[in-house]
Symmetry: C2
Subunit: 512 residues, 2 copies
């Protein structure tokens, strides 16, 4: 039974750590040596990326990855490695066939990926394509009654013209300096309220178009998505919920392919396609799972306390999720391997967590935090809330660490400044920012007032080529960057485990 | 009957044009106005790129493009627009189905294009993949007798790791300055003789591997080719010749896909695929064709003389050949349209040529030159050789003109310098180089001592994304660059047509 602690945020005052951090230089050297000279990141990458394959939550690939991780962590000597259910996620889904090509006015194979959790077509279907060009409800009216059994094309909205920016980039000194500044008044958003409203309206209308096509009984949607040059970005559908109503089979397709359909159609050229989607739902076990394993603490007075590190193990389905986020799991697994292989004995217990369901809303980490530490909506806290010193996360792709986001936790600044010094030879223009970064699992910890941090990483090809794309493959990994990350994370985790005090906390958030 | 003139190269001396070029500023302004304000390049691009589709020599798409071009040029008021056979090319070829996916250890659709002129598979085939890892004849021995009916994977040799260079580039001032310098002793080749020999050896062994696989009776080759992020570069097979022996069906596949097969296989994971190629040969007409049309000269004393402009109309089959070389044809068609629409009356006859068979060895232009001007192997010249003032070619993609290659014709330098001045407002760092550029149809003219020139163009995505790829689509066109090119070409053609003398020639080449 769980004992509930009621949070009293107004009374909580962050305690600043003015004392000099004790750095165990010998331990740091052992970590560096193990991580840089005996690295296993390529082996872990092969297992998670190539061998497990796409790791959509609750898919067979996700299960393969959890099985590998549990066995591998156990083999390295971690204890209590296991999958831990966090609650109901929903259906698994497997892609068994994906094919689409234009057949008239000439043959052209398309680059496409079935939308995650989409239905199958009725075998291979073929026929004329109807291009939907609708921006308003009135625009939709003109298609009413005409789409029964039809193959629909929906134009991409993005730009696929030549790019004069490199696909892969590293942060410049100037960009990092800017990042180190306090956030601007706008909270750092580069969008105006009007733009945000326009995005919301566009999304709402896109949902409405989907409903309309379903009402009208269309047979297949071929949706042009963002991307260029054969790279395409998949969407984030909600079809995993067990009570999801049946929809229309949908292929997310390279913008060049659907632009071609559109230009031909708009100029009076009839377009035909042939397509087949075959998918399969997995409904035997609707629970969601994280992978958990530990290096038990060595100090009797501190071993009940925790340092956590993690990243999400699930991916989208269009490729192997190499940078999003096998990379983070490779780094975190390698970090705990390094600690074990280097023969270090952390005083506090080190716990690694590889999260599921992140891509659908940080489900694995949010629920884990609710189950173990506290409920962010009620701010009812559990006893373990007092025991967690800090959580470190990696989920910004394959790029090396350039610094850390402190999520407004000012007391952490002098601490991480000391921690970075022994690894500064591995980091160019190392940067500490108080700014928040969002979108991933450290937020689950931050949301209940626990120190949860994500590192600043070089973007490499994350925004241009890999994040939720069909091209997030093994080739996209920068092996040397993964090694650097694993070493730095291992030192941070070790130092969190060793210091006399737990990490300083921000004021507890008020109930949400 | 053709009258043959024997060339006397040793006696021929280039006559330098020291006289100031007369520039008809009024005509230039008309050209600029028509080309920049009433441009038709988007319409021509739609017709050649999207509507005709891939234009592999003697394919249905090539025929559609020739039919469009003849009709369009006629509609614009050009005369004698027609397709002209230049001799035997070989078989046409149509792709009717292209599908390949990995099915074990998990499902993954691949990005692939059948090799041009490849055979069909025996319907949809599936099975275990055998990875061929052979660098020598001895390596091949170990596969002997094991490949009957097998699906073969051949690893890519290129690098698909993250790219820190932009896909699209324009020439810098420094690069152009360097281009303006005389070529270095090595003739400008960036390869050592050893590297060139290594390329040749590798190519010869690749052919040997193909022969071996055929001897062994493999069912399908899945060959990883160069490229990244979904872009793949097709090869240049010779299967169009009418007596080509039957080969093994072959898919040219994204390097990421075949790398995945390779890493899995090399680590003991069995890989299965399913695939289908369906192709069709066109053998009714083996002739090769160019498109020819004219604006007849207006000066009775000069109308029998010619100015030619052109580019190749054929493309590879993996995409729509937008930059290679619809772009050149769009520009040349637009250039003659501009001359007509601007109401200009060139003194000499302007003849546009859209070449076939370029991708297989400049066949269309070489044979046209042989048929009309002279034979480069014997240097036996025809009477029309005396009549051609010059030929201008576009085949360096979609990028705007930054200057011209003079192919060693020094006497042209002061002339083009004068010609560029009235369009210098459209060109940044305009550059004239005496250097040669190769690889395309102006060489056919240069080869018989006729002034044939190709422009310096910004590379944009030519080497990274478009040249012979599956991503050479309409999106890759820079419409404003095409407009600039058409205007400049129109002024060059017009000025060649108007000047009192024909363009100066280099010394005639000796017999090859």
């Amino acid at each position: 039974m769980k004992k509930l602690l009621l949070a009293l945020p107004a009374l909580f005052v962050a305690s600043f750590a003015f004392c000099q951090e004790k750095i165990d230089q010998n331990a740091i050297e052992k970590i560096k040596n193990e991580g840089l000279n005996n690295s296993q990141v390529e082996n872990i990458a092969f297992e998670l990326v190539d061998k497990a394959g796409p790791r959509l939550s609750n898919s067979e690939g996700y299960v393969r990855a959890t099985e590998y991780a549990v066995k591998q962590l156990t083999d390295w000597g971690l204890e209590n490695a296991h999958t831990e259910a966090w609650g109901e996620f929903g259906r698994g889904w497997e892609m068994e066939k994906s094919y689409v090509a234009m057949t008239k006015p000439y043959y052209m194979p398309f680059i496409a990926i079935p939308k995650a959790w989409t239905e199958s077509t009725a075998g291979e279907i073929s026929g004329k394509v109807i291009l939907i060009d609708a921006k308003t409800e009135e625009d939709l009216e003109k298609y009413k009654g005409k789409l029964k059994g039809a193959i629909i094309a929906v134009k991409p909205t993005g730009d696929a013209s030549p790019t004069f920016e490199a696909d892969a980039i590293r942060f410049t000194e100037e960009q990092l300096d800017q990042m180190a500044e306090p956030p601007s008044e706008s909270g750092g958003s580069s969008y105006t309220p009007e733009q945000i409203q326009a995005f919301r309206d566009a999304r709402a209308f896109a949902i409405r178009v989907g409903e309309f096509l379903k009402e009208e009984g269309a047979a297949l949607i071929i949706k042009g998505v963002n991307g260029r040059h054969g790279t395409l970005f998949t969407s984030s559908p909600r079809g995993y919920l067990k009570d999801t109503p049946e929809g229309i089979p949908e292929l997310e397709t390279a913008p060049e392919n659907v632009n071609l359909i559109a230009r031909l159609s708009e100029n009076g050229v009839e377009v035909e396609v042939e397509a087949e989607i075959k998918t399969r739902y997995l409904t035997d076990d609707l629970q969601g799972y994280n992978v958990i394993a530990e290096i038990p603490g060595s100090d009797p007075s501190l071993k009940s306390e925790l340092v956590m590190l993690g990243g999400h193990l699930d991916s989208w389905h269009g490729a192997n999720g190499a940078t999003d986020n096998a990379a983070g799991c490779i780094v975190m697994m390698e970090a705990v391997r390094i600690l074990k292989a280097a023969g270090l004995k952390p005083r506090r217990t080190v716990r690694i967590a590889l999260w599921g369901g992140e891509e659908q809303g940080l489900h694995g980490s949010r629920n884990y935090v609710t189950n173990h530490f506290g409920d962010r909506t009620t701010m009812e806290l559990l006893p373990e809330h007092e025991k967690l010193s800090g959580y470190f996360n990696i989920d910004n792709g394959t790029g090396r660490i350039r610094g850390i986001y402190l999520q407004g936790n000012e007391a952490m600044k002098p601490i991480v400044d000391e921690w970075f010094k022994p690894v500064d030879d591995l980091i160019e223009n190392r940067t500490i920012t108080l700014r928040n970064t969002g979108g991933t699992d450290h937020l689950a910890f931050d949301g209940v007032g626990l120190p949860g941090f994500q590192f600043i990483q070089d973007p490499i090809e994350y925004r241009s080529r890999t994040h939720h794309t069909n091209m997030d493959t093994y080739e996209r990994l920068m092996i040397d960057d993964l090694k650097q990350m694993a070493v730095i994370v291992a030192t941070f985790v070790y130092q969190t485990a060793q210091r006399d005090e737990k990490l300083p906390r921000k004021e507890l958030p008020s109930r949400n």
